[in-house]
C-alpha cells in the first residue's frame, strides 16, 4: 500500500450532512444517502474512496469507515451501504437502528486507499459479500470512460446478494455472480488465465478471499503491482490495559470494547488517523517503553516492525502486559 498523505490534524476535514434516504436492500444491508446540510456540492472523490462516518451514540462517538458507492460524477449525494454486524462493536447496528431520513451527521472528506490504476488495459473486480460497495463507484467511473472491465461477485444467497439484480440487469455480459448456497464457486484460476496483458485485478471481501487472490495471482505469474485489495479491520475487543502517553503526560485506561485510538481520543488527546482500520498508516505511534506482549492486528507495519516492539497502530492493535509508554 502506498504512503498515506502527510497531515498534522487528527483525521480528515469534515462535512456536515443530512440523511436523504435510507434504503433497506435485504435482511443485512441498508443503503444510506447523504446530502450536504449547507446545500453545496460535495467534494469530488475518486472511485474506491471511503469516508469515515461519525456517529453520536448516546454521548459516545463512533467513527466507522465505509466505501463510497455513489457515482463519483454526481456531486449532489454521497452513498454508503452498511452491512449489519450483530456481533460487532455496534457501529453498524447504530446505523441500522438509529439513523433516519432527516438526521444530521458528520462525514470525513473522502480518502482513497483503493484507487483504480487507470493505466490498466482491463479491470477485473472480485467482490465477496459487502465488498461489492467500492466497485459500484468504480464501475460508474469505468463505464463513463468506456474502459473494459468484468466482475465476479460471490455472495451467500440470492436474498443476501446486494445489488445483484441491478448489476446483472445493467451489465448482463460483464457481471458474474456465484451463490454459496447453490454451491457455486468463484473460478479464480480459470478467470485469471488468459486475461490480456496489462489487466489489473481488484479484490474486496473477507480476509481469506483477499489472501487467496493474492497467492493465486502470484502463482500464476501476475506482478503484485497488478493485484489490488482493500480490507478494513474492525478493532477487536480484548482485555483492558493501561497506557502512559508521555508527551501528554497522562495515564489512560483502555477498556475491553474500545480501541487504543478511541481511548486516546476519549481522554482528549488529539491523535492522527484516516481509515481507523489498520490500512492507511496515519496513526502509527512510537513506543517509548514496553513490558509485555503486543497484539498487532494492522496490515500497515511489516513483520520486522511488528517484532521490533517500537511501533504500534492504535486503531486496531492492543497490548497485554505491565507497562506501555507511547510517544503521544
Amino acid at each position: 500500500m502506498s504512503a498515506a498523505p502527510q497531515k498534522t490534524k487528527a483525521g480528515a476535514e469534515k462535512i456536515d450532512v443530512t440523511v436523504s434516504a435510507v434504503v433497506k436492500l435485504n435482511a443485512l444491508v441498508t443503503r444510506f444517502e447523504f446530502t450536504r446540510t449547507d446545500g453545496k456540492e460535495f467534494p469530488p472523490f475518486s472511485a474506491g474512496a471511503h469516508t469515515v462516518v461519525e456517529m453520536n451514540d448516546d454521548g459516545r462517538t463512533r467513527l466507522n469507515p465505509y466505501s463510497l458507492m455513489s457515482d463519483p460524477a454526481d456531486p449532489t449525494i454521497y452513498a454508503i451501504s452498511v452491512r449489519r454486524d450483530d456481533a460487532g462493536r455496534g457501529g453498524s447496528l447504530f446505523m441500522h437502528n438509529n439513523v433516519n431520513v432527516g438526521d444530521r451527521m458528520t462525514l470525513s472528506y473522502p480518502v482513497n486507499l483503493f484507487p483504480l490504476d487507470l493505466r490498466g488495459r482491463k479491470h477485473v473486480f472480485l467482490a465477496g459479500g459487502i465488498g461489492i460497495t467500492p466497485f459500484m463507484a468504480m464501475i460508474a467511473h469505468l463505464e463513463r470512460i468506456s474502459a473494459p472491465w468484468e466482475m465476479h461477485y460471490a455472495c451467500r444467497s440470492k436474498e443476501l446478494g446486494s445489488y445483484v439484480d441491478e448489476l446483472t440487469g445493467k451489465y448482463p455480459s460483464k457481471v458474474h455472480v456465484y451463490f454459496d448456497d447453490q454451491d457455486q464457486k468463484l473460478p479464480l484460476e480459470d478467470l485469471l488465465d488468459g486475461q490480456p496483458l496489462g489487466t489489473h485485478v481488484y479484490v474486496c471481501g473477507p480476509k481469506g478471499m483477499i489472501n487467496w487472490v493474492h497467492s493465486t495471482a502470484a502463482a500464476h505469474g501476475w506482478p503484485e503491482e497488478h493485484v489490488h485489495s482493500e480490507e478494513f479491520l474492525a478493532p477487536q475487543p480484548g482485555k483492558p490495559f493501561e497506557v502512559r502517553l508521555c508527551k501528554s503526560d497522562i495515564t489512560i485506561q483502555v477498556g475491553e470494547n474500545e480501541s487504543l485510538l478511541e481511548a486516546i481520543e476519549r481522554c482528549g488527546v488529539e491523535a492522527p488517523f484516516l481509515c481507523r482500520g489498520g490500512a492507511c498508516g496515519q496513526c502509527e505511534t512510537d513506543v517509548v517503553e514496553a513490558d509485555g506482549t503486543f497484539d498487532h492486528r494492522d496490515h500497515w507495519l511489516d513483520d520486522e516492525e511488528h517484532a521490533s516492539g517500537k511501533k504500534i497502530m492504535p486503531c486496531v492493535s492492543r497490548f497485554v502486559g505491565k507497562t506501555l509508554v507511547l510517544d503521544r
Binding site: 485469471l192 488465465d193 488468459g194 496483458l197 496489462g198 503491482e225 497488478h226
Partner: protein
C-alpha cells in the same frame, strides 16, 4: 568474465539484478551478446523453465559463440536475429499475443534491456516486474538532448553526437521512455574546449 559491477550512482540510473526462475504461464527471454551466459546460468537453476521459454537472441559481435549453447538448452522457440531492430516486429507480435502470467527476462547490454523493457511497458507490464541482468559490454545508448538523435554503443565520455556533431558529456540521467541516457553539450560556454575522451568506467 562478462559481469561488471556498476558504481553507485543517482536514482535515475537503472539497476540490474540476477535472473531467477519465477512462476508464470509463459516465459519470454530477450538477450544480446554475452547476455546468453545469463540465460545459460538460469537454465542451470531450472531447465524446465527454458524448455517452456521463447528466446530472442541477438549475438552482436559474439558471432556463433553462444548460438549452439542456447540451442542445446532446448527452448520452446529460439530466434537468432541480426540486430535488435530486426527483432522488434517479433517482440511486438509475441507481446500482442501474450496474456497475464507472462514473465519477461532481459539479459545483455543496457541498450537492449532498456529498449525491450520499453516494449514490455507499452504492452502493459510494469517495469518493476521485468527481470534484468547486465552482461557484456558497458557501452551505452545515448540521446543528444539538443538534437534528440540517438547514438548507440557509446564507449567514451565525452563523445561526438552521431547526428548533430556536438561534443556530449555522458550523464547517468536515464529516460525509461526513450531507453537512453542523456548526453549534454560539454563545451557550450567555451566552444572547442573539450576534455580528452576517456573510456567509460576506466
Amino acid at each position: 568474465m562478462s559481469k561488471f559491477q556498476f558504481p553507485e550512482s543517482i536514482r535515475s540510473r537503472p539497476v540490474y539484478g540476477t535472473l531467477e526462475p519465477r512462476p508464470g504461464k509463459a516465459h519470454l527471454m530477450i538477450a544480446d551478446a554475452e547476455g546468453a551466459e545469463a540465460l545459460i546460468d538460469l537454465a542451470a537453476q531450472d531447465a524446465d523453465l527454458i524448455h517452456a521459454a521463447h528466446i530472442i537472441y541477438i549475438p552482436k559481435n559474439t558471432g556463433e559463440t553462444y548460438v549452439e549453447k542456447l540451442r542445446a538448452l532446448a527452448p520452446a522457440q529460439l530466434y537468432v536475429g541480426p540486430s535488435y531492430e530486426a527483432s522488434v516486429p517479433r517482440i511486438r507480435r509475441v507481446l500482442s499475443d501474450a496474456h497475464m502470467g507472462l514473465q519477461i527476462y532481459l539479459a545483455g547490454t543496457e541498450g537492449l534491456m532498456g529498449q525491450a523493457m520499453n516494449e514490455a511497458m507499452h504492452a502493459g507490464i510494469p517495469h518493476s516486474a521485468v527481470q534484468t541482468e547486465h552482461r557484456g559490454s558497458v557501452a551505452r545508448r545515448m540521446q543528444c538532448v539538443h538534437c534528440k538523435g540517438i547514438t548507440e554503443d557509446v564507449m567514451t565520455d565525452p563523445f561526438v553526437c552521431s547526428h548533430c556533431g556536438l561534443n556530449l558529456f555522458v550523464r547517468d540521467h536515464y529516460s525509461r521512455r526513450l531507453a537512453a541516457f542523456q548526453g549534454v553539450c560539454v563545451d557550450a560556454e567555451d566552444p572547442g574546449n573539450v576534455p580528452e575522451p576517456v573510456e567509460l568506467y576506466k
